[in-house]
Symmetry: C2
Subunit: 428 residues, 2 copies
């Protein structure tokens, strides 16, 4: 599963797109894939480079990007590209890297195919067939469980099962889309009956997105040793949650309307190739925890299947500037992405290119490393105070939540995931 | 929401397709829509008539079916047809009824467009965007709850919330597809740790399928009074369930691998028009039950939004003939289909044409009216004995489960839904 380090990762590599050099998210060492519309244009595949987007459809038309991979990466939906797997993806990435590298003889042909990102409209990168949300953030699971079961917060299955539930694909939107505060049934413990009203406990959840590549046919599980080959890339995911609706509805079948009113994802698919320098060993399990069952254990996955990624949440009150709210790290995932894929398919369920997996909320241990307001406010019992004096227990209308992720390692150029933003609008 | 009775429902109406007259499922008064391939042909839209299928693409080519509705009904996926709503659907149905009616002057043109159903391959009628499974069978909810909470089987939310969860769209298959016994983690109460192994408690669930029509945009709920207009039709659904996998994995987020290995649906979309004679008042709630909250209450829906449908389950052991296993009735739904739609969207979640809703298991009250083996065998504690002497607690490899539904009312010709079949194949 290890993705090779090659010339595209060279820290000395610079781009003739000047904004890329030193860019916090999109230096030439990243080159994530997405779908965008330039001003007045139709949706097409693109690659983020600095503060610009490279038009892959334009590259194909100009004969600068060839082959099945290039064609698929230029399409208005990347499902076909994701289906091709690592080989064609790596080829396209290397070709784009060469075209954007300082000294490229093609500069004059490529330059007209760059668009300022700020002038473009981003779209979902794929048609999402199914969206599954996991629960691999062990501190989130513990913190959430503690609100209901103080003495025994983690369920007995947690350390054996990469717990997940199916979520709603239709309501996933790209970063920047507004999020309407949902109405729903809520019932306070001492209310005689529930009332249909706007949620008063609206929350965000800091998650990673996993975009599926080739996938499997029904009845044919993906072995843990092959699972990484089926992951096409990563992003950020905000699993907006209405805690009061969720609390009343979720027994016995799990979350439904408390989650399905909106999910936001970042727009760029950051590839396993770009992340190759930023893998790490899965942190050792605490003493006494059981080892993964054999169908979830692969030595290479344990050695290098985790992600060395810093995560951050900012909150911008209406009319205000973004304030740090929490920071976390992907090492708090109890299961690797490959384990998520292997488990999802172990009973035969079929995953398809462009399917979306969420990791579940990735909280750390410290009070300022919690990935939801439910945890930060201890279930709404304490007030969270931001640097600008803003106080919150849950989200208010006009609040914008901004998730970000950044990978860095000595000897490599840092990359980011772009942002996953969403602003709360009032209930209907 | 009431759909008018018109000449297509006339009990005196007969078809020149002789097998249709007296057919238990597909007399000319039904005319359900589906997608089929004739021998050697590509998938296309069709209508079931007796033991034959009428090729709608052929009708369009011959100029016998016109307009946007006809074009969309002839396509290889009916999402576009379902999106058009009741008007075009009714027009196509009336046109097909006239073409198939005894005495039609078009007989000689239509006859070559009929295919023996037994020679054709059926497909899913739509690309299913999202699949949601409800829990509206109150006796099933009670029976299932009793296994875990004998004194208080129904959750406190049950009579307020049409409880549902998101299920897996990718693994829905048309009737006739085999169902591989899933492997998964299971743990008996006295096991020290779970084991990954084939499910030993494989079950069926007797449900109705609801196919979505036009749907809504994100953030814009469908009002209860409009909800029926967004239902394009009905079918049967078998929510295959691995009870041992489900029991171990489902806390705290609900069913996942215990359900997503396979779901079977009947292939024909039985329209609200065909079902117009077979609507009934929603049964009165037991004394003491709360009324539906206002967003779930519509007088017309209460007066005629329920379905007067007999349901049946047969089980055919390997090499044997189908034996009656259970019979039930759609009146055991505590919520109407319109209430399901209104609730699903009440927080803003968007439904799209071709989305699939399951009702949840529809069990009756009598011991032979239970819609799952979990209930029939009282959680596996007693043996169910079929008429041929076969004994079961859960499904065995080679078992075929056959769901069927039938509507009848004095003064009208009875119609059926066809069948929803699936045979269990051994685990990998």
């Amino acid at each position: 599963m290890t993705t090779a380090i090659d010339e595209t990762h060279d820290p000395a590599l610079r781009s003739w797109v000047e904004s890329a050099n030193g860019h916090p998210h999109f230096p030439i060492q990243n080159l994530p894939f997405g779908v965008f519309s330039p001003p007045g244009g139709a949706p097409r595949g693109g690659v983020a480079i600095g503060d610009s987007i490279l038009d892959l459809a334009g590259l194909v038309s100009a004969g600068l990007l060839t082959g099945a991979g290039g064609q698929a990466a230029a399409a208005s939906r990347l499902n076909g590209f994701l289906a091709l797997g690592a080989g064609p993806r790596r080829e396209v990435r290397r070709a784009v890297s060469a075209l954007l590298a300082a000294g490229s003889p093609r500069l004059s042909m490529v330059l007209p195919l760059l668009h300022k990102a700020a002038d473009c409209t981003m779209h979902l990168p794929c048609a999402i067939g199914d969206y599954t949300d996991f629960y691999v953030g062990i501190h989130h699971a513990t913190n959430g469980g503690r609100l209901f079961r103080p003495d025994n917060p983690l369920m007995p299955n947690y350390k054996y099962v990469p717990v997940a539930y199916h979520s709603r694909a239709s309501s996933v939107r790209p970063s920047g889309a507004t999020v309407r505060r949902p109405k729903g049934q809520t019932k306070a413990p001492d209310d005689a009956a529930p009332v249909y009203r706007p949620s008063a406990r609206l929350d965000f959840e800091l998650e990673l997105a996993v975009w599926m590549g080739p996938g499997n046919t029904l009845g044919d599980p993906i072995a843990i040793g092959d699972a990484a080959d089926h992951i096409a890339g990563y992003g950020l995911l905000n699993d907006w949650s209405a805690r009061d609706i969720q609390a009343w509805e979720a027994a016995p079948l799990g979350p439904f309307l408390g989650k399905n009113f909106s999910t936001s994802v970042s727009c760029w698919i950051v590839t396993p190739e770009a992340l190759a320098p930023f893998r790490m060993a899965q942190p050792a399990r605490p003493a006494g925890d059981p080892p993964p069952l054999p169908y979830l254990f692969d030595a290479a996955d344990q050695a290098s299947g985790a992600l060395d990624l810093d995560l951050a949440v900012h909150l911008a009150p209406a009319g205000g500037t973004p304030q740090p709210l929490a920071h976390s790290h992907a090492r708090h995932m109890y299961w690797t992405p490959a384990q998520m894929v292997a488990h999802h398919t172990c009973g035969g369920c079929d995953l398809h290119p462009g399917d979306l997996l969420g990791t579940g909320t990735i909280s750390g241990i410290e009070p300022d490393s919690l990935g939801s307001l439910l945890e930060l406010s201890e279930g709404g019992r304490r007030t969270v105070r931001l640097a600008d004096g803003t106080e919150r227990r849950f989200l208010e209308d006009g609040d914008e939540v901004i998730l970000s992720a950044r990978a860095h390692r000595d000897g490599f150029v840092s990359i980011g995931f772009g942002e996953c933003r969403g602003t709360i609008t009032p209930a209907m």
